[in-house]
């Protein structure tokens, strides 16, 4: 996950370096201001420990191995900003000693592993602690989830940086990095939990100093239900309101491609529709933008359109200027009569030639309700299952 020099573009490097400098600067200011001078040698020594621990490799799959990062472990044991500082130290040392991670990419690496890995990982820890019981197993479970999440989030952040630099296609980099690190994250979570359990047994006061965590084995039942209901409510709101937006908006890079390619795409789609064997043109469009393509030869073809293109099915209307269409696929009948899918050649689009180009979801205005509903049902179902499993585990422990 250490980005070398030359991989990320300069704007990305400068932006993430600015963010990292701000966060590390704040962390330094806190460490300098705190009356506890003890922290100064401590943070340096713990950074040396994290550096050594990052040399612990564990096998993942098929010959690849991951290594321990320790962002959440450091955040839970030392505090979130102290952990950012420690990881920044480790990354600077790795960059200077082993040339592992470039100097111009140092800001990006500190952002991914320090800011995202430790700060966001710690936020996840605190977030999960809200719904878990304040006891030892609750703390360990939260640390496991946070460690896994922090690994995957750092990897996704790294993939997004490479994607935004125009080096990798997003749709390849993000799933690939997230997939591999979902596995590495399991190792990270396991090591974090075991290490944390050991520290809890030896130095319980270190964990007890963390707000939200606890080494007590008795459950404090008060207020748990209120928190459960509040958490569920927040999840439902997110699922219903945010999820329809989450899947269909093109990101920056795609948007650039849209403008160039829209016109040519519309021309090609028109030509495709006029062929007799074509029964269906699926066009994935932005929700809210009505895309209409005229059927030129006037024959009443059966034209079925995918979601987002309902208008096309009902009316044959004029071409829309600057149509924001960005990916397409033609479904035609073969001689046998079976439906046959053919990839629509979209001249001018940037990433549609990559092997997994059309995995996008297509959603129209009218589907908002459906997606929202699906999100609601999914959230409640997931919550129910998680709650049942959790109750079962707790019941068994007693």
């Amino acid at each position: 996950m250490h980005i070398p020099d030359g991989f990320a573009s300069m704007p990305i490097n400068i932006a993430s370096a600015a963010a990292s400098v701000a966060v590390v600067g704040y962390a330094l200011k806190r460490a300098g201001k705190s009356l506890d001078q003890k922290k100064i040698p401590l943070l340096g020594v713990v950074a040396a420990f994290i550096f050594a621990a990052q040399m612990l490799n564990f096998p993942v799959i098929a010959g690849t191995s991951g290594h321990f990062v320790g962002a959440v472990l450091a955040a839970v044991l030392l505090g979130p900003f102290e952990a950012v500082l420690v990881l920044a130290l480790v990354l600077v040392l790795q960059c200077l000693m082993f040339a592992d991670g470039g100097i111009t990419a140092l800001g990006s690496n500190i952002f991914n592993m320090g800011v995202v890995g430790a700060l966001l990982g710690y936020a996840a820890f605190r977030g999960v602690m809200v719904i878990l019981p304040k006891n030892k197993s609750g703390t360990l479970t939260a640390a496991a989830i946070a460690a896994w999440f922090s690994t995957v989030a750092a990897a996704v952040s790294c993939a997004v940086m490479l994607g935004a630099s125009g080096r990798y296609p997003f749709e390849l980099a993000v799933p690939a990095m997230a997939g591999v690190h979902a596995l590495i994250g399991i190792g990270e979570a396991a090591i974090t939990v075991v290490a944390l359990a050991l520290v809890m047994a030896a130095r319980p006061e270190l964990i007890a100093a963390r707000p939200g965590a606890s080494v007590q084995t008795r459950t404090a039942a008060t207020g748990v239900w209120g928190v459960v209901v509040a958490g569920l409510g927040a999840a439902v709101v997110l699922a219903v309101i945010v999820s329809p937006y989450a899947c269909s908006d093109p990101d920056g890079l795609e948007k650039k491609a849209i403008g160039e390619s829209a016109r040519r795409f519309v021309e090609a789609a028109k030509a495709e529709i006029s062929k007799p064997e074509v029964v269906k043109v699926e066009v994935y469009a932005n929700p809210g933008v009505a895309e209409e393509i005229e059927n030129t030869d006037g024959e009443p073809h059966r034209i079925l359109c995918a979601a987002g293109m309902d208008a096309l099915a009902k009316t044959k209307v004029k071409e829309v200027e600057n149509a924001e269409i960005f990916a397409g696929r033609v479904v035609s009948t073969e001689a046998s009569g079976a439906l046959h899918e053919k990839k629509f050649e979209q001249q001018g689009a940037v990433w549609t030639h990559s092997p997994i180009a059309d995995y996008r979801l297509n959603i129209s205005d009218k589907d908002y309700l459906k997606v929202g509903l699906a999100g609601l049902i999914g959230t409640i179902l997931a919550f129910g299952i998680a709650f049942a499993m959790f109750s079962a585990v707790r019941g068994r422990k007693r």
Partner: protein, 255 residues
Amino acid sequence: MKHSFLDKYSDIDSPMQRVDARVKAVCALVMIVAIVTTPVERVLPFAAYFAILATVFLLSRIPLAHIAARLVIVIPFLLCFALVTPFVPHYSGEPGQAIGVLSLKYYPSGMIVLVSVTAKAFGGVLCIVALTATTPFAELLRGLERLRVPRLFLVLLSFAYRYLFLFVDEMERMKRARDARSFGGSRWWHARVLGRMTGTMFLRSFERGERVYGAMAARGFDGTFHSVRPLRLGGADAASGAAFLALVAAVWFVF
């Protein structure tokens, strides 16, 4: 202080090692930025950069094996990259050539990006090696301090550096002890052993940190740091640094 695997060659007496750390740090940084911001379609500047680096390494008498070992580190990252990049178009409307495998297409622009990234990554590593292998770490930190890097950060960095090899050695000992006991079994067992090693190391580092503070406090540590040897920027250092920067700028602008 120096350590066998960190700044191993920093005590060789050569023209490179004698240059002031500040000058070297600034030169390395400028050189890396120059390499990273040069478009790869222009071959000549890259040839010039690598020629400059080769000269620096010849002057510094760093063994080739050490440089090669450092270059290896970017290879996994590059390999992941090389598997994908040539098969993705990097400007719109580029016609690709089918290669007959999995409907993949080869795009020349992707290949250019791959070559560019490879050259830049290796160039960056070479600059870092040229800086750190010729400069004792403590001197580098003092140089960075004069370049206005926050003092506390450098103090923390020097603590980390001071205890780094202790922990690396300790971890190597733990690994050897683990392997001597026929480490094997299931993944879960691996995770438990590694987790306990990590936890033990954390406790040791934490307690060492506390003891170090105790020792410092006993010697009158009051939260401030003093250094005995101030860096002196000689005229020769400044002149050679300026000449180097002028050379890099010339390559960047002229070629």
